[in-house]
Amino acid sequence: MAADTRRESDVSRESDAGRGSTGGGSASEAASHSLGPVPLPAASRFRPLLGLLVPAALVVGWHLVVATGTIAAYQLPTPVRVAETLYGMGASGELWGHVAVTLRRVALGAGLGIAVGTVFGTATGLSRTASDLLDPLLQSLKNIPSLAWVPLFLLWFGIGETAKVLLIAVGAFFPVYLNLSTGIAAVDEELLEVAAVYDLGRVESLRRVVFPAALPSLLVGIRGGVGLAWMFVVAAELIAASQGVGFLLSDGRTLARPDIIVASILLFAFLGNCSDVAVKEVRDRVVGR
């Protein structure tokens, strides 16, 4: 469920962005044509900056409501205070330890989830029997909320790293599995007939036809999986951790330090965004061709 909604929102976000930029491009082109030789500054170049406008206004508004006392400072610190806290933790080196631990968990968990998801997705995509055996189970497991797994994983694997990495892997597994499985099963029948007519054989037709055709689906799945890995790492670290950005979050609550809480949330937003952009970049390179 979570995976699906996330993917949808991603898609709509992308298409919005696409429309925005192409619209801007043609508009500025038309303008420069009608105005003849007078060169207009390329407005489209600054278009991405428009996206910063609303957040900047929000930060100013945030500062104002706290500075004027509309919201008490012990509930919401000023943006400056949050920045100072982040800088302080960065300067003392404390921050990097937490970030590194969280990144490591996400990388290991997402890597494991993607690997297992790829194996299961390939199996169910290729074999009708494997799909009939496994798909109903996996389809129902995917609806279990991330937090529901936490107590069980703690019971099974203790509060060490294993439980956290496995929990994150569970999160990353489903989008990869679902997308790859449907992607492989949906490979054009007509191309499979081409492979059959030219006797490519099982292995060759997988290598040359099926996997390349399903690669875009796999990459969509990986993008969703990495996104879910970040959600699951929060679940893991909020409940049982002595390090990590999620631990900072719960520590901030214990210490009644809203600046630490907000700083941690911003860190998650930043790190999550960076990984999403990175995966999307890889996908565009591979699929864009």
């Binding site: 007939e193 007519v197 690669l215």
Partner: protein
């Protein structure tokens, strides 16, 4: 030009059913080495089904269908190349790689010999300079020629073509037909072309097989004994066109 003693392609009493529907019933056909045979028929008469059987894509049918004396169901579809109605190219792969899909299984596509062979084929179909292009960058006619080169890469005993020009505009279609004739004359490949275009069938083929009825069966065979190169407006061809059209019951 009619079938010799040892036909490359032989069909005896072919009967093909999909569940309760009989698509083909009692079809006999023999195609000699190097012959160009066109199969025409109204839609729904089982023309495409016939090609699918010949290409080995249909595992279940009654009767005997052999290419070079081997049952098409045995040992894969080794001896036929197939050009589908749509180009059916791998759109992530370049032209070279798409043609290489048609190479026989025992040829390593990365070997220099295979690269030369693929290069020759690309040249044969008139696409020199496009080896590194992707299907998305090609026109419909060019894409269909990549598909033709892929069909030839196998060096097949029989090249099967399933209405390969039906999606092309009139001018491109005429070009592609002449192109196919050039390739056929150059390489001496045996060709079976399925089409619903009577003019195309008579212009291209040595022999036109008319399929008709439901289930489809051979209604008539028209020999096209007209010297090549042919003129499209040749009165003999026009007369034969009428004969084929009459056989179709139109």
């Amino acid at each position: 030009m009619s079938s010799g003693a040892d036909p490359v392609l032989a069909v005896d009493g072919l009967r093909k059913r999909y569940d309760d529907t009989v698509a083909l019933d009692g079809v006999d056909l023999a195609v000699a080495d190097g012959e160009f045979v066109a199969v025409v028929g109204p839609s729904g008469c089982g023309k495409s089904t016939l090609l699918r059987v010949l290409s080995g894509l249909e595992a279940r049918f009654e009767g005997r269908v052999t290419v070079d004396g081997t049952d098409v169901r045995a040992g894969g579809n080794d001896d036929v190349g197939m050009v589908f109605q749509e180009p059916r190219l791998l759109d992530w792969a370049d032209v070279r790689e798409n043609v290489a899909v048609g190479l026989p299984a025992d040829v390593d596509p990365a070997s220099p010999a295979a690269r030369d062979r693929v290069g020759d084929l690309i040249e044969t179909v008139g696409l020199d300079g496009f080896a590194d292009s992707h299907p998305g960058e090609l026109s419909g006619g060019m894409a269909q020629r990549v598909s033709l080169a892929r069909g030839l890469a196998y060096d097949p005993s029989v090249l099967l073509l399933d209405e390969p020009f039906s999606a092309l505009d009139r001018l491109t279609k005429a070009d592609q037909q002449d192109h196919l004739l050039d390739v056929w004359e150059q390489r001496g490949t045996t060709v079976v072309l399925v089409t619903h275009d009577v003019e195309e069938a008579v212009y291209l083929a040595d022999r036109v097989v008319v399929l008709a009825g439901q289930p489809g069966t051979v209604a008539s065979v028209v020999d096209v004994d007209v010297e090549r190169p042919r003129e499209r407006a040749d009165p003999d061809l026009v007369a034969l066109r009428r004969e084929v059209t009459d056989a179709l019951g139109r």
